[in-house]
Amino acid sequence: MDSILEVQHLTKHFGQFKAVDDVSFSIKEGEIVGLLGPNGAGKTTTIYMLLGLVTPTSGMITYFGKDFSKHRGLCLGQMNFASAYSEIQGRMTVAQNFHIYSRLYNVPDIKERTLELLDLLEVPETKDKLFWTLSSGQKTRVILAKALINKPRIILMDEPTASLDPEIAAKVVEIVRELQKKERVTILYTSHNMREVEKICDRVMFLSHGKILAEDTPLGLTKRVGGATLTLTFAGKYLTVAKYLKEKDFVHTFPRKNVVEVRLSDEQIPKALFGLSNEGVWITDVDVSKPDLEDVFLSIAKGAYEHATH
């Protein structure tokens, strides 16, 4: 597969502050790549540089094999952007906005494309409404539809579900996944919502203090954290449970009476269960939770924070 976007040594300083620090990555055609990181990690600055809204201090951005700084119009014509923080003209109807953007992108069959996209995003009723009168959910879908108007080869999405309630956000994520399948579009997706990213991204990059700290598939990243959290509910014998776990050096907490959470590796799970049973502890409920991207995120963010503060 060819590389759609190639970023080399991208750096952005705001005075003494390094917002993005020597970031390099590439995205292949058809991939959905997540860009994750805590607030101030440099995600939005990176996206803005990729859109030409912020001038990099150094580094190179290449779309479709073309240098973005030298072929701005050509590159922008084949890409698009959707964000919770960018809208279209509120004093125009959705159809009028789509007419304008279709012309700017030189899209033929403007009316058909508008109807097709509004149907695809399940908001055909918004066509003749002024954009500012739409609900947040409708706006997000219309913005996503706008982002598809020029049949882009790559869409940059900056927290597209940020202002939505969970139900509509989940629907939007589902739509994005469907869109990617139908239109084979490449997506760079930033979000704070780990579950969202885990659900739709083929690959994830963790950004912290302007640097990419980890890059892998969601599964690969969770494997890096490893282990599991074993939650046991038991009948009585609190001291026995505490003594056993301490002797075996298992990291544990008692969040409630008769409930213990034990952090251990996959292999240690049966040992802990049998060991406690052999001590005569009556286990009434067992729950094993594997780490998710949230754990990876917290672990990386914590590591980066500690690294930065030392």
Partner: protein, 261 residues
């Protein structure tokens, strides 16, 4: 530069205009009210044969529409996108700054023609004065005033990019300095000497002085028009260069990306 994208900006302005009562008020209502006020002031000034001060006030208020609409289209045209959080969305398309500016300049001419046309009709019915009696030089005067208004528009836009949205009201305020200092209603010779020095740096001063000269003598003041053109060329290039430099700064500092409401 793409003609299609420039036409698209014109279409954008039209669609926006259809749904924006504020723009109608800014462009036409204030113009109509101004005309009513100034026509009666002009009539009170117009006494005695050969006195052209009343007419020059009426010509001033009609032609003011070109200055107002030209700078309004550029500065407020961009502000409408910022208020709508669509400024970034517009500029992540292949649209260039130059195409946006040219589109807004043409839109400013169109608004100016309609607003000045309405004002001229008001003046004609209220005081029986037709601005068309100025003849072909009217086109030259209009051209000079429009070009001057574009420079003001670009300068105001630069200030907004440099100083942020706190100074957005300059889009309505700065242009009004043309009225006292730009020779619009009265001869520059009536102003204090130190103010006259400022006035002679403003292209509209030469245009309005030339109009007054023509009303009195029947001929165009050619040296004045040459000076107006020279200043306009300088200000237009200066306004564009300042805007370009400011936008480059805003893109480096991150201020440009924040121009989204």
């Amino acid at each position: 530069m793409s003609t299609r994208r420039i036409k698209t900006i014109l279409l954008h302005t039209w669609y926006h205009f259809l749904h924006s009562m504020e723009t109608w008020v800014d462009v036409f209502w204030s113009s109509a009210v101004n005309v009513l006020v100034f026509v009666f002031i002009a009539q009170s000034l117009q006494s005695g044969a050969g006195n052209t001060s009343g007419i020059s006030v009426m010509v001033g208020i009609i032609l003011w529409n070109f200055i107002w609409c030209g700078q309004y289209s550029i500065a407020v045209g961009a502000l409408w996108e910022i208020w709508s959080r669509s400024f970034n969305t517009l500029f992540i398309t292949p649209l260039t700054l130059e195409e946006f500016l040219v589109g807004q300049m043409i839109s400013g001419i169109m608004k100016g023609v309609v607003a000045a046309g309405i004002a001229a009709i008001f003046v004609f019915f209220l005081s029986h004065y037709s601005i068309l009696t100025i003849g072909w030089p009217l086109l030259l005067y209009i051209f000079e005033l429009i070009v001057f208004s574009w420079s003001i528009g670009m300068f105001v836009l630069s200030l907004i990019f440099r100083l942020g949205m706190n100074v957005q009201s300059l889009s309505w305020v700065i242009v009004y300095l043309v009225q006292p200092f730009g020779g619009m209603f009265f001869s520059v010779s009536l102003l204090p000497v130190w103010v006259q020095k400022i006035s002679w740096m403003i292209p509209s001063t030469y245009v309005f002085e030339s109009i007054r000269y023509q009303l009195t003598t029947g001929t165009v003041n050619v040296p004045f028009m040459i000076q107006a053109t020279a200043l306009n060329v300088g200000y237009l290039i200066g306004g564009y260069v300042i805007l370009r430099i400011t936008i480059a700064w805003a893109k480096r500092s991150g201020a440009y990306a924040k121009m989204n409401g």
